[in-house]
């Protein structure tokens, strides 16, 4: 019943990525993977609680898009936000501390897994309700356009990327925001992480037109379908979309065909997805594919790749130590941050 779409073919050899850049992309994906694996371990050890949604398998999307952006660009995510936060530059220790509910967490322990925010890194959240971050992202993009065109600030060319899933694309806010983004030519990327499942709801069972990228043309917006397990393919499309947005040419919809290797959350028994489906997608693991690419293109050798993995292993361990040894928020500050004072 669940038909797999033909993945678009991307000529990776034509990607022109340098050794430095290649290793940078690889490191970001390894960080995303190892961090999430550590989260699973910590959750089962009772160090973090509640709803935790892991990103394993989707690393090419976060790395491909966010590493094609500048630090002063904006990133807006969903409840599956740990890896977006990491790609956006939030230190692993502060993401882990947030998951442990500590005062040193990026949201001061007030947000948790689903609410990663960082003003310093222009990370706009972390949202529990699907779709509710898209308008917020639209607002950041609107702000860029406003500064540039209403206030005459030529340096206001920041771009915003909004990440959300296949399930969200049936929600009103998705369509309303596509309309406004196109209408006002806002500098925004709508990045759909189509991992085929919204908890236990298969995309094709919820969606009359499952090819999400086709919905962009209705709004006069370019829409692309890309192999979401190929970091260079994602990066290529993202770079073009970012350039368009920065040049004032408006929004782009990017549908990344990807897959989550774990359940919807750590509470999901993940019984509906077939073993065959999981295996087929695991065979396309973005990390293994990119390793193979780097080796084939002589951009790295096994030693260099291992060095990256060892570095990240140590980094993730350190983030756990930091989180463990960090203080809890002070109960006397229960009511702090409700309002901005002054």
């Amino acid at each position: 019943m669940v038909q797999d779409r033909t993945l678009p073919v991307f000529q990776a050899a034509a990607a022109q990525v340098s050794q430095d850049e290649g290793l940078r992309l690889y490191e970001d994906m390894v960080l995303g993977r190892y961090f999430e694996d550590k989260c699973a371990e910590m959750y089962y050890r009772g160090k973090m609680f509640g709803f935790v949604h892991l990103y394993n398998g989707q690393e090419a999307v976060s790395t491909g898009v966010i590493k094609a952006m500048r630090p002063d660009d904006y990133v807006c995510s969903t409840y599956r936000d740990h890896v977006h936060a990491l790609s956006a530059g939030v230190p692993a220790r502060n993401v882990m501390a947030e998951l442990f509910g500590k005062e040193t967490g990026i949201s001061k322990g007030r947000g948790g897994s689903m609410h990663m925010f960082s003003k310093e890194h222009n990370l706009l959240g972390g949202f529990a309700f699907i779709g509710e971050g898209i308008p917020v992202a639209l607002g950041a993009a609107f702000q860029s356009r406003y500064r540039r065109d209403a206030l005459g600030d030529a340096s206001a060319d920041q771009v915003t990327a909004a990440f959300f899933g296949d399930g969200t694309t049936n929600n009103g806010q998705f369509f309303e925001c596509l309309n406004m983004a196109a209408l006002w030519k806002l500098p925004i990327l709508f990045v759909v992480e189509n991992n085929k499942w919204a908890i236990g709801m298969a995309h094709e069972r919820a969606t009359s037109q499952p090819e999400i990228y086709r919905k962009a043309s209705v709004f006069g917006m370019p829409g692309y379908e890309v192999d979401g397990m190929d970091v260079l393919a994602v990066r290529d499309v993202a770079q073009a979309a970012v350039a368009r947005a920065r040049a004032g040419e408006g929004p782009t919809l990017i549908e990344c065909l990807t897959y989550r290797f774990r359940g919807h959350s750590l509470a999901d028994p993940d019984e509906l997805r077939s073993q065959a489906e999981k295996e087929a997608w695991q065979a396309r693991d973005p990390l293994s594919r990119f390793e193979a690419y780097l080796l084939e293109q002589n951009l790295a050798d096994e030693a260099a790749l291992k060095a990256v993995r060892d570095k990240i292993t140590a980094l993730v361990e350190e983030s756990v130590e930091f989180a463990e040894s960090s203080p809890e928020p002070d109960p006397s500050e229960l009511r702090r941050y409700i309002f901005a004072e002054g």
């Binding site: 904006y74 807006c76 967490g105 990026i106 949201s107 001061k108 322990g109 007030r110 947000g111 609410h115 925010f117 960082s118 003003k119 706009l124 959240g125 972390g126 949202f127 529990a128 309700f129 509710e132 898209i134 308008p135 917020v136 992202a137 639209l138 607002g139 950041a140 993009a141 609107f142 702000q143 356009r145 406003y146 065109d149 209403a150 206030l151 009103g172 806010q173 309303e176 925001c177 309309n179 406004m180 209408l183 702090r336 941050y337 409700i338 309002f339 901005a340 004072e341 002054g342």
Partner: protein, 327 residues
């Protein structure tokens, strides 16, 4: 400014703040070219352009969220709800994001925005255009809520709301836009968290807000004729409630009547009475009397409609009974 209609007082406040601070903008349906359905933004788009007075498509939840995102990234949006009732569609963004996002982000972001527009029971506008949302939003942490009631307080409060670093729900009333009052020429701001003593008195404390203030004042004219001396307090701030002013009054009169236009169930008065219990129980000679709208959808028929809200005559009778301690 001389004699000014309330909607023009709001317009002047908006214009002054937009001139003063280039990050202030207006977002809403028909606020630009149409000038606002109650003329609050008339011609402002000619002065400030289509980006600073932004006409939106009909998508309340999304443009509300867009305003949140714009506020998080440094702008100061004023969102107009064409009718505040329409903001039921924006409840997700107002509650989850405008109200709670600062806290959930551990103080990373502030959300300086104003959400304003007309609410209240009008003249036969039907149930959906006669809504009062203040009670629904009062439980959302992180929101400030004010209700203006005169041209003077409308202007001063809106300016303060625009300058506040937090989300402010600013309730206007459909039937008060044509009130006229002399306004000062000089700039003035009013605090968002202070109630207004409309008429000092010693007999009974009457707490009210928005259009009901005018019903209470009308009732007080008749009451004065009969020798009564009510103290009328316009709450102005519905969240937080100014218990300091209320307390001073209760310590004087020891009797309280609350006259509100929201529904009786779970209304503003329900909250205030519980708090008066907590804080001032020993000062009371009698239970607090609550006069609210009926818990029904507002009917179209004019006579039925007038039965759903509190009328001046009822307020008069309530004061007489309260003074005789026959409540």
């Amino acid at each position: 400014m001389a004699e000014t209609l309330l909607f023009n007082a709001l317009r002047a406040a908006t214009d002054e703040e937009m001139a003063r601070d280039e990050t202030v903008l207006v977002i809403g349906e028909d606020v630009g070219h149409y000038g606002g359905s109650y003329k609050v933004t008339k011609d402002l788009c000619k002065k400030y352009g289509d980006l600073r007075v932004l006409d939106t498509p009909i998508a309340e939840n999304s443009f509300m969220g867009m305003a949140v995102g714009a506020a998080m990234t440094g702008l100061r949006p004023i969102v107009e709800g064409m009718n505040m009732g329409f903001l039921l569609l924006a409840f997700n963004q107002i509650a989850n994001n405008a109200g709670m996002l600062r806290y959930t982000s551990g103080g990373n972001y502030e959300i300086p925005m104003v959400i304003r527009g007309p609410g209240g029971v009008g003249r036969q506008l039907g149930a959906e255009h006669s809504q009062r949302l203040e009670a629904y939003f009062q439980a959302v942490p992180g929101l400030k809520i004010v209700a203006c009631s005169t041209p003077y307080n409308a202007k001063g409060l809106l300016k303060s709301a625009i300058r506040d670093r937090n989300p402010v729900l600013f309730f206007e009333h459909v039937l008060l836009y044509n009130l006229k009052e002399d306004l000062p020429d000089d700039e003035y701001l009013l605090p968002l968290d202070k109630a207004e003593v409309v008429r000092p008195g010693k007999d009974v404390t009457i707490l009210t807000y928005s259009r009901m203030r005018h019903h209470v004042v009308q009732a007080s004219k008749a009451l004065e004729q009969k020798g009564f001396d009510p103290e009328i307090i316009d709450l102005i701030s519905l969240k937080p409630i100014d218990y300091q002013t209320i307390g001073e009054s209760i310590r004087k009169t020891h009797k309280v009547i609350i006259v509100e236009e929201c529904m009786r169930t779970g209304g503003i008065a329900a909250e205030i009475i519980a708090s008066i219990n907590d804080r001032f129980f020993d000062e009371l000679d009698a239970p607090v009397l609550r006069m609210s709208s009926q818990d029904i959808p507002t009917p179209y028929n004019g006579r039925l409609e007038s039965l759903t809200i509190v009328q001046p005559k009822q307020i008069e009778e309530a004061v007489e009974k309260m003074m005789a301690l026959r409540i």
